[in-house]
Amino acid sequence: MRPESPSEAAIRDWCVGYLARTLDLPEEQIRPDVKFGRLGLDSANSVYLIVELEEWLGLELAPDLLFEHPTILDLARYLAGRAAGETGVG
């Protein structure tokens, strides 16, 4: 349904904004190359992040996604690939 899927950069920015709001931290403290654990994300917040991403991107994601892709950079790269693959036409 989506005319074009979000770019890697857009997903990255979205994650930074989302985590800044969730963790009540300034955006400049959410560095995309820092591991999620380092940001103090607990397991419930990890699940909520995945759910928000699923809703936004229209993808089904694994519960241990952040374990496989432990930084915002890794995650955005992976998700951009998935989003392009699953919504692209031909």
Binding site: Q29, R38, G40, D42, S43
Partner: protein
């Protein structure tokens, strides 16, 4: 909108007669859950006892009462060969039905089950090591594929504990009960240990007897008005007493079905819980307050489809403070789908009382009371003087059948009349036997004596509250230092130690961890920590705070709301050097901490 009654609701007092655990249909009396299991296996062999709903794409698992009995017997066969009565067995299971099989295998043989949470992969300071040291188990029970494929780190972690691993999924199907004579559990015999109390370093295992289990099950049945038609749907983990006793054991006690799902599935898709309630026409389903918040927040009209919640009669809410705005928002959100606001069923309890201490009556709805927020801070209950001083308290129901709840002034140990706040004390057949191998903690918590009240012994809950004229119990605070997040207890001293291990600049014995309410009235963690002058540099400080956040998430699975570094020597302490967490919290709220610049 829900009714707010300013005064007390007059309902007839719970019976003073002791509960009589029995099957409500046949009248057969139950001395223990071994009786219950055998009775169900004979009376309703082919009825479903449990269904586990899989994650996406998985297979639905089922157990009938006869299958549960047969599989528990297979576990019992192995236990009687490899161990002896009174041995402890830690239960370490992924979500599913094997936990239940293992638990009943233990009950059948007099093996003392010790449910524990599976440690997180990367945690270094979880409670499991100290629990094992405390209860010295012979057995560790789990699924073979869980420790060989999914989580090999679990077996590795306990390598030095000389545990006898028992894989309940890899046992031959049972051929009835073992040939040898199984013990016949007496009411005073130990059924299992519940480790939800005490700090990570000094955990306390509550000794729950067979008598405690059947009595509290009967007390819950009466309060909830449950019958054989009261299907349950639960996502609460089984190592949590609410998951085990209020769902898995209560449904077996009734002879009804309990539908289970993995906790993570609920967190991801809270509406799948509501869908299961609809699908199975469940009467009873509940969880901690945050679960109701999560459902309301995640409600999407387009995902609700045909869901009809009119079957849901007891939406119990317990294990963390019950918030008026949560139950109101939940009721408003889901009333269009048939949810009856009067099904909201606040309850109060703790492992030391087996599980449940107070609860309402089925269909009565919550009792709300508007009080002065200012006065409540001073532990007084009066009507609000101004609108902005108003706070709504949610009643947690009344004492259960055969139990007594008293409010006691903790210093003088005198009973307080209705309307006055004091410590909540409990006496009854649900009060557990004490803490495992810890006579001093048992003495101080389980052996309270009311001044002028004779020799009777009471459980001191460490919670503060008051009773109204009608006997409704309101919880208003805590004496004990514990932080409750998403229904799990966390102990400040554990978190403070984790923080101080992060960096040598963070002073030992110079921190205070406490809970504060966020704008949604949910409890959040705040840590105040002294930092040495010599290390104080701006850049290092933000790195230090990150390290602290990381360690707290890793070892305690909490996202800290705020970490505040303060000047050395400014944390409030008593003259004897005891950390004054309550005062630190007040200073945090008032903004008067000496923040390190």
């Amino acid at each position: 909108m829900l009714d707010i009654s300013q005064g007390a609701r007059r309902v007839k007092q719970a019976s003073d007669k002791p509960p009589r655990p029995s099957d409500a249909v046949t009248g057969v009396e139950f001395t223990s859950f071994v009786d219950v299991l055998r009775h169900r296996a004979v009376e309703q062999p082919n009825d479903w006892a449990y269904i586990f709903l899989p994650d996406r794409g998985g297979e639905r698992l089922t157990l009938t009462f006869a299958q549960l009995h047969a599989r528990a017997c297979a576990v019992a066969q192995t236990l009687v060969v490899r161990g002896q009565r009174g041995d402890r067995a830690v239960l370490l299971f992924p979500p599913g039905l094997d936990f239940i099989v293992a638990f009943f295998g233990c009950l059948l043989t007099g093996t003392i089950a010790v449910p524990i949470m599976v440690p997180r992969r990367d945690s270094s300071r979880d409670a499991s090591a100290a629990i094992l040291a405390d209860c010295t188990p012979r057995f560790a029970m789990t699924r073979r594929d869980f420790v060989t494929n999914a989580r090999p780190d679990v077996a590795e972690r306990f390598r030095d504990d000389a545990l006898d691993w028992l894989f309940v999924d890899a046992l031959p199907a049972g051929l009835g009960e073992p040939e040898c004579t199984l013990p016949f559990p007496m009411p005073g015999d130990v059924a299992f240990l519940q480790y939800t109390s005490g700090s990570t370093s000094a955990p306390k295992g509550v000794i729950v007897s067979h008598g405690n289990l059947v009595n509290n099950s009967e007390m819950i049945r009466i309060a909830f008005g449950n019958t054989r038609n009261s299907t349950h749907v639960s996502w609460v983990p089984l190592y949590h007493d609410m998951g085990l006793i209020l769902n898995v054991l209560q449904s077996l006690y009734l002879g009804t079905l309990c539908v289970l799902m993995a906790p993570v599935r609920f967190l991801q898709r809270p509406l799948s819980w509501l869908r299961a309630i609809h699908d199975y026409r469940a009467e009873v389903a509940g969880g901690p307050n945050f679960a109701f918040d999560l459902c309301a927040r995640r409600h999407r009209a387009e995902e609700m489809g045909e869901i009809d919640l009119s079957c849901w009669r007891v939406a119990f809410n317990g294990a963390e403070p019950v918030r008026a705005n949560t139950i109101e928002r939940f009721a408003e959100t889901f009333a269009p789908y048939g949810f009856n606001p009067k099904s909201t069923h606040p309850a109060y309890g703790m492992a030391e009382a087996t599980l449940m201490i107070s609860g309402g009556q089925r269909g009565a709805g919550p009792v709300l009371r508007r009080v002065s927020r200012d006065a409540l801070q001073r532990h007084q209950v009066i009507a609000p003087l101004r609108a902005e001083d108003s706070q709504i308290l949610v009643g947690c129901g009344r004492q259960l059948c055969g139990e007594r709840v008293a409010v006691v002034e903790p210093e003088s140990r005198r009973r307080l009349p209705p309307g006055l706040i004091g410590e909540i004390w409990v006496a009854g057949p649900n009060v557990a036997q004490g803490y495992w191998c810890n006579s001093s903690a048992t003495e101080s918590v389980f052996r309270g004596q009311v001044a002028g009240g004779g020799t009777e012994r009471w459980l001191r809950t460490g919670d503060l509250g008051f009773l109204d004229e009608g006997g409704e119990l309101f919880i208003t605070g805590r004496i004990k230092d514990v932080i409750v997040i998403r229904g799990m207890n966390h102990y400040p001293q554990d978190i403070e130690e984790t923080v101080q291990d992060c960096d040598p600049a963070l002073r030992r014995h110079g921190g205070a961890a406490f809970g504060v309410l966020d704008r949604n009235d949910e409890e959040q963690l705040v840590v105040v920590q002294e930092v040495e002058r010599t290390y104080r540099q701006r850049i290092a400080e933000s790195e230090m705070v990150h390290s602290v956040r990381e360690a707290i998430a890793r070892d305690h699975d909490i996202a800290a709301q705020e970490i505040i570094l303060i000047r050395p020597g400014t944390l409030p302490k008593t003259t004897s050097g005891k950390i004054q967490r309550h005062l630190a919290r007040q200073m945090f709220l008032a903004g008067t901490l000496a923040v390190a610049e």
